[in-house]
Structures are given as C-alpha cells and as structure tokens.
Amino acid sequence: MTPQSLLQLTSQKCTTGCPILDRLLYGGIPCDSITEIVAESGSGKTQICLQLSLHAQLPVSHGGLAASSLYLHTEFPFPFRRLHQLCLSFRSSNAHHFPVNDNPCDRIFVQSVHTADHLLEIMSKTDPFIENSKNQVPVRLIVIDSIAALFRSDFDNTPVELKRRSSLFFKISSKLKALAKRFNLAVLVTNQVVDLVGPNEGINGLRIGNLVCLHTSGRRVCPALGLAWANCVNSRLFLSRNEEVIREENEKSNGQSCDFVKKKMRKLYVVFAPHLPESSCEFEITREGLFGVER
C-alpha cells in the first residue's frame, strides 16, 4: 500500500456548457466524486443532466471529458424530444469538434431503473460495460435522475424499514464511489425536496440536521431522503425557483409608465461542497439549454 502523491492528483472537471455556471463551480462537475442536485419538480434538474451528458463529449481542452455518458432514469418517460432539441443546438455551436454525420445522442446510453435493488443489479453490470467502452468512447459520466423516486414509495415508515433504507443508501453510494474512483467518473445524482412545516425545532430541526434552510416557490423545503443520504454525497447543489414581481419601465406613446410583471427567478446555490464556498448565481432555461445570467 503506497500513498498517492498529491501533486499528481488533479481533479478533472466536466463543464456545464455555461461559463458563468462553470465559474461558480470552479470549473464544473468534478470527477471521482458524487454531486447531487436538489430541486423541486420543474426547476431544471433534468435540463442540467441532459446538458451535462452532451457537454461531457467535448474534448478535454474545451472542458469536457471526451467521453460518453450513462443516463439512468427512474421517472418516466425519458425526455427524448428535449434531448434531441438540446442536441441540435449543441451540435451547431460545437460543429468543429464533431464530424458531419455524427449524432452526439449516440454517445448517451439510457437505461431505466425501477427499484433500488434494480439499481444495485445495474451497477454490478456497469463495471464490465464501462471497461468495454474504453475501446470506443469511454464512459466518464453517470447520471442518476432521480435517486429519490426509487426510495420514496417502497419503504414503510417503521424503524426497521428505515434502517434497511439507510443501509441501501450506503451500499449504493459506496458502489458509485468505487466506480467513480476506478474509472475516474463524474457522478451526478438528482434528488427531490420535501416541505418543512412548522418551527425549526424538534423533528424539523433534525431533518435539516442544523443545516441551512432552503427556500423555493415561497416554501421552506429540505432535500428528500434525509440525513442518511446527505452523508453519502460529496457535493450538493440546490436549484430554486421563485416568482418575483418586477417593476418594468415601459415607454409608451403617452409618456413612461410602469408595468408590474411576474418574472420567474431561478437560482443555483452551492449548499455544500469540499472545494466550493457557499455561493449562488441566477440562471435561465432557454431552448438552447440552461445558462447562467450575470446581473
């Protein structure tokens, strides 16, 4: 057993496709680590996952991993049409990296997952799969969208079942981390949120485990799957969306007037990460994808 030389250990990152988001994340999603994206439905988790699967195919000199990705989805249906749309705009803005008849969608391997045990089964088959992919375009990104869906209905609320659920978390996380280390993969996992009702003490205080409180759509929320799963991930990002009323100045023929317009404000927060300070940035979702907004 020899220690690894820290000077030779560099953590590679996969770009998100937007320089503003990359700056927030100090380069992108890191390899050899599990990054979790927490958000309520409709906040953009799947958008980021699809975008990352495409941008992982960029060469390393442009921030990508020159790799294909494995996309495990638990919620049906898989957004094929949106992926195709993103793929078209990705191709047009990065045409010089890919040959003419190439389809980046060919390098995204999609697999549906039904239960937690099914996930464990798939992961044991993933080892040889990734090993074989080294001959063509190696797999360097695994996306699980979403991990919460696997656990939220199968388990009763008894201590025995919860304990079983917890040990499954650690088993899955341990396998994912071993895969990530062996093949230097980036792992992206998405999670849902649950509401926090009432004051910050008692069960609520326990759920968030004296962590910072998260807000979205005007509600106080905390990530699903509890403290046990929170111990299994390396970094956590939170996407929030709020409707804000903004005063917009409109030039009209009879002088200036103001309109009150409802705008969707979307923000990406770094909740915790070993290499990032607590920070946030605003973003928007367009047809071309998810991009940070500099104000």
């Binding site: 680590s33 280390k181 326990l206 485990g209 004296n210």
Partner: protein
C-alpha cells in the same frame, strides 16, 4: 535492559527468549513458580533468574522514582508529560480553547457533524497545521490522510496550504518588528508533499490499511497526525454478521489508540451523524458511537 545482558547461563537465556520474555520489565510481575512452570526449569533456578533480573534492574534505575509495579508512572510524571506535549492548532482560537490547546498528541480525537459543516475542511487544516515548523510553535511533522469518502480535493488543500504560509510570514513580520518581508522557505507544494494520502473504497481496505500503519509509521517516524475521513462510512452498510462489524470496529479503534500512544502522534477521526430514536424524541448522535468507544469527542454544529 535486555535479557541477553543478564549474567545467566546461555540455556536459561534461550528458554527465556523462546518463552517470550525479551525484556526485564516482563519479568517484573511474575512469581517464581509461574516462571518455573513456563520455562520448565526447577523453582530454585527460576528464583535465581528473577533475583538476578531484579538486581540488574535495581542497579540501573537507582535514580528513578520507585514504583510498585515496573512500568508504571506516577500521576505527577504523567501530568508533567502531558503539559510538555505539543498540540496541533486548528487555526481557530475558540476551537483550540475547547480542545484544551489544540488537538492533543497521544490521543484519539473524534469530530462529528452533519454533512457540509466543515469536517473535511478541519481535517485538511489539521493535516496542514501539523507541518508548521517548531520555530512557529508547531510540531514540524508530517500527516497521514485516510480518505474513505472521496471528499479530499487537492485544490482546496493547496488553498489552505497557501494561507498557512501567508499566516506564517505575517507572524514572522510581526515578531521581527522591522517590517521586512521575511521569506518563508516553505512552498504550498512542499506542504502537499508531506501529506501521505490514502484513498480506500471498502471496509476491508480500511482494516488492511490500519494494520499496515504500524509498519508505515516505523518507517516514517516524522508523521505526527493521522486523519481518517470518515471512519464509519464503509461500516454503515448492511453487514451479514453484525457481531463481526462490532468486533472489527472495536479492534480498529483499539489499534488506533495504540498507534497514538506508541508513536506519540495525534489521531483525528471524522465521523458522520445519524438520528437516534429515544422514547419520545429524536436526537442527532454520532454514528456507531457505542462501538467506537473513544477519547475526546467533539460535535460541530452551526
């Protein structure tokens, strides 16, 4: 004082060594009848050996404080030893105060907290601070960092190392009072080189590594801190045999304590928290705490 220096016959010496008595202190608390039985010699021979041994011991340690049982230390000596031991600063004065000066050597310190509270950051900080040279009040030693979760980021360690060097040069400037830019010869790269980093992916690797540390530490005597981040992650899965898990964990904790005492280094264990169901309420508690029965324990909270 070794057995081979004793004025006894060669065959007696050979019997002592093959029975496992290699030092004088091991002969201090055995009776002559037990020794005779173990060595398969007559009781008078055994009594002779013990007399010779205590005579040699007595002449050598005539100026040491007398002790009832050989190998014991008076409480006064222990207090003196403890006070003269160096501490590793955590770079936070308040935290140092709570810990009684810093992370203590010869002790195992367990630090627990929720995810994201700063356990890994503290671990990296300690691994950097142990390298502060003696001139600046540090131990000038190296560090072993055992990463079980993959949360060690080199770029962050580099940032912390840079800040530590900056702190040292400011302190230097302060001391010298002549406002000259005093160059510290250490570079962040040197600090990173002095951290022995091990990444482990399963509980078997963890146990194997802790067993191997004995050999590693005897080859690298300048290691002054072992940081394990985090110690219980791989044990929280379902084990087929829970009794095995308990045995393995307590064995590991004991080994770490022995390493700390033998090599005079500090062991820092970072632990996760879990929820504890008591009669009517829930509490946050350190994971697997009943198994890892250790010395000083600190909980971090926001």
């Amino acid at each position: 004082m070794e057995i081979w220096r004793l004025p006894i016959s060669a065959s007696q010496r050979g019997k002592l060594i093959s029975a496992g008595y290699t030092s004088l202190s091991s002969l201090s608390s055995i009776s002559s009848s037990d020794l005779a039985r173990e060595l398969k010699v007559s009781e008078s021979e055994a009594m002779n050996i013990l007399k010779v041994a205590s005579h040699s011991r007595g002449s050598e340690t005539s100026n040491a404080s007398c002790s009832i049982v050989e190998g014991a230390q008076s409480a006064w000596d222990m207090l003196h030893d403890e006070e003269s031991l160096m501490h590793i600063t955590t770079s936070s004065a308040d935290l140092d105060n709570i810990l009684g000066g810093g992370i203590h050597c010869k002790e195992v310190t367990e630090i627990g907290g929720v995810p994201g509270i700063g356990k890994t950051q503290l671990g990296i900080q300690v691994a950097v601070n142990v390298q502060i040279p003696n001139d600046f009040g540090g131990l000038g030693g190296k560090a072993i960092y055992i990463d079980t979760e993959g949360s060690f980021m080199v770029e962050r360690a580099f940032q912390i190392a840079e800040a530590c060097i900056e702190d040292m040069s400011e302190y230097n400037r302060f001391l010298r009072k002549d406002f000259q830019e005093c160059k510290i010869k250490m570079l962040p790269q040197d600090i990173l080189e002095n951290i022995f980093y091990f990444r482990i992916c399963s509980y078997t690797e963890q146990i194997a590594l802790i067993n191997y540390l004995d050999k590693f530490l005897s080859e690298h005597k300048d290691v002054k801190v072992i940081v394990v981040d985090s110690v219980t992650f791989h044990f929280r899965q379902d084990f087929d045999d829970m009794a095995l898990r308990t045995r393995v964990l307590s064995g590991m904790a004991l080994k770490l304590m022995n390493l700390a005492k033998r090599f005079s280094l500090a062991v820092v264990l970072l632990n996760q928290v879990t929820t504890k169901h008591t009669e009517a309420s829930f509490q946050l508690a350190l994971a697997l705490v009943t198994v890892l029965d250790l010395c000083s324990v600190t909980m971090l909270s926001r």
